[in-house]
């Protein structure tokens, strides 16, 4: 009941005209960047971080959350019509969705994706509403040791468990942590890794890293392989109203996708890719038309689309209740909290109820907006897809430049941007994941801080991490998650 009262207060915040406008701007922008291949929510929010100097925190987070949700909706449109996933979380959607579009059922695929996203997004936002306060109650008992161990667990899951290679994922994570270490150590005042440059005393700005990896690196990667061919856009065909048969085959997939996506997103593992693959696999197993899979089965669109939207809401659970980001986008949102001087963590709900509940309420509203934006207005987004690549990527780099140069009007920031961009290109080409870099950079300094606090409490005895039961459990889970694939492989030989 208390939660519902808080939520009602949140709606009062979110329904003010100005906040509705921010939500609409966020949802529209999010859908647009979701549709455009090469632009993602992490990059967009990083470029918009300067807005935190101008508008109040509630408005900024309503905008950012709209972008985050909207990108998930928009990404599916690109996957279905272009076969190039607009977002990594919509890779699976392309498998069946693009086949459906080729068979003239593009409209039905778009409809089941959008309605599924709405259903899943709404249910998962309810999950967030009721789960976040519970997690907070639990987390209030956490000391620095538990926090540090929880961060270690998140580090392991985002880099080693998700993704294709644990070694490459961890390499990226450590690179990210190193980037986060650059600058003056706040506790001792010692400069670290500044290479004698005064510009680096404040550290490297997360905008530089995010924009370098996601905009410059991605553009270099696509330019280098542009000659490899182009994808064709399939025009939307068929009725946007799904047939009775489509509904019958979709609704269970939506609910199953939600049930898969939300818990996985809410665990300190995060990520939207794993639940989409899992949902696809489940739908293929359970389908009464397994022969259609690979040729455009509607369940193969409905399930994964629901799963990725549900996991997006799930990621916000550890983000808002623990201050623990588990996706690149969430990590950048965390740095926005820092920019406002707000300490994300279990006390956030107590100290900033207006912000948190206003944000959650705006997610419900955003889902409705996004359903309208993405279903009747889908033709508009198809037009965006037709922007020629030369102009699109030219524009992306102009935005990258102004976002970076605007930090301190220093060409040196641009040099760092291009270095990171070059590294991002190599990472893309050799299949290194980028999200662990951002997460490591944001979470690394926080982990160091908690580690130092824990050591101060224990008077320098590191066994505190293992003698406190909760902390030991978290570290044990992390160790199992890290080592079990290797052990499994060793047994298989």
């Amino acid at each position: 009941v208390d939660t519902l009262a808080q939520l009602a207060a949140g709606f009062a915040v979110a329904l003010t005209p100005i906040n509705l406008l921010w939500a609409l701007v966020g949802c529209t922008l999010g859908t647009a960047i979701g549709v455009l291949p090469g632009l993602g929510p992490a990059l967009t929010i990083a470029l918009l971080l300067p807005i935190t100097y101008k508008v109040d925190a509630t408005a900024a987070f309503i905008l950012f959350a709209g972008i985050y949700y909207g990108a998930m909706y928009g990404g599916s449109t690109t996957s279905i019509l272009l076969n190039t996933p607009g977002e990594s979380a919509t890779i699976v959607t392309a498998l069946e969705g693009n086949k459906m579009a080729r068979r003239g059922r593009g409209a039905a695929a778009l409809a089941t994706a959008a309605i599924g996203s709405f259903v899943a997004g709404t249910i998962a936002t309810m999950g967030l509403t009721f789960l976040a306060p519970l997690v907070v109650d639990f987390a209030l008992r956490f000391g620095p040791a538990e926090y540090f161990s929880l961060m270690v667990l998140a580090f392991v899951t985002v880099s080693a468990v998700l993704g294709t290679s644990a070694v490459r994922g961890l390499t990226c994570l450590l690179f990210g942590i190193w980037l986060g270490l650059i600058g003056i150590d706040l506790q001792t005042g010692q400069p670290r890794f500044t290479f004698g440059l005064t510009e680096l005393l404040d550290g490297i700005n997360v905008i530089v890293v995010a924009v370098g990896l996601f905009a410059v690196g991605e553009t270099l990667y696509l330019a280098a392989r542009h000659h490899l061919g182009k994808d064709e856009i399939i025009p939307v065909q068929g009725s946007l109203w799904m047939t009775k048969e489509d509904w019958k085959r979709s609704w269970k997939a939506w609910l199953r996708g939600t049930l898969i996506g939300f818990p996985i997103g809410a665990m300190p593992a995060g990520g939207a890719e794993v639940p989409t693959f899992l949902s696809y696999y489940v739908e293929k197993k359970l389908s009464s038309h397994p022969e259609e899979f690979g040729n455009g089965a509607i369940e193969g669109v409905a399930g994964p689309e629901a799963a990725n939207n549900a996991s997006t809401a799930g990621v916000l659970v550890p983000m808002l209740s623990l201050g623990l980001p588990t996706s690149a986008t969430a990590a950048i949102m965390l740095s926005a909290f820092q920019s406002y001087g707000i300490n994300p963590g279990p006390l956030l709900l107590q100290n900033q109820p207006q912000l948190v509940w206003g944000l959650i309420a705006s997610l419900y509203i955003g889902n409705v907006m996004l359903l309208i934006l993405n279903l009747p207005l889908v033709g508009l987004w198809v037009k965006i897809l037709k922007i020629p690549a030369p102009l699109l990527y030219g524009g992306i780099l102009v935005f990258a430049t102004i976002g970076t140069y605007g930090i301190s009007q220093s060409p040196l920031d641009l040099v760092f941007l291009y270095i990171i961009g070059g590294i991002g290109y190599l990472m893309r080409r050799y299949d290194f994941p980028t999200a662990p870099v951002i997460i490591g950079m944001i979470l690394g300094p926080l982990a160091e801080q908690e580690f130092r606090r824990a050591m101060t409490i224990s008077q320098g005895d590191p066994t505190i991490l293992l003698t406190r039961p909760l902390s030991a459990t978290l570290l044990a889970i992390a160790a199992v998650a890290l080592l079990s694939p290797f052990v499994y492989r060793a047994f298989k030989r």
């Binding site: 100097y53 942590i177 890794f193 270099l220 280098a224 102009v398 430049t401 009007q409 050799y430 690394g444």
Partner: protein
Amino acid sequence: VSAGQSDSGTDLAESEQPHANRREVFLSLGVIAFAILVLFQTMQIPVSPIYSRVGPTVFPYLVAGGLFVLGVLLLVQALRGQWGATDADEDEAQPDWRALGWLGLGLVLNVALIDYLGFIIASTLLFCCVARAFGSRHLARDAAIAIILCVITYLGFARVLGISIGAGVLEGIL
């Protein structure tokens, strides 16, 4: 590109005759070299005895050590041909050096000129180079679009968000 294909890609690489990939070997050596650089940089951080408990070097040493171990593991994988990058055929496909060259030129021009000519002109040049890298042959059209886009972006950031984007030739007029 998808994570799902990678599993089968790894299996494929293992069932076929694995062979060391030269570029992957260089890349892992790069990671090892970077780990050593981090280590040397860490050794130069002065540690005050007052902060003997967890000084400023504990995490850097962990990072350097971890990167070194991971670099060695990467090297082993590369030598055994077990890297299993998702696009197996991509190693064969040469990157488009001409496109990368145009892009690089645009980036260098941008960083070299932005302080002297201002954001709008420098970024217009960048835009045109990027468009050329992606195969555009319509310089006049690209330049026109670029100038309009840069002016709008500049006004958006400078006036609406109130962020200083520095002075420049055209910025002074606006």
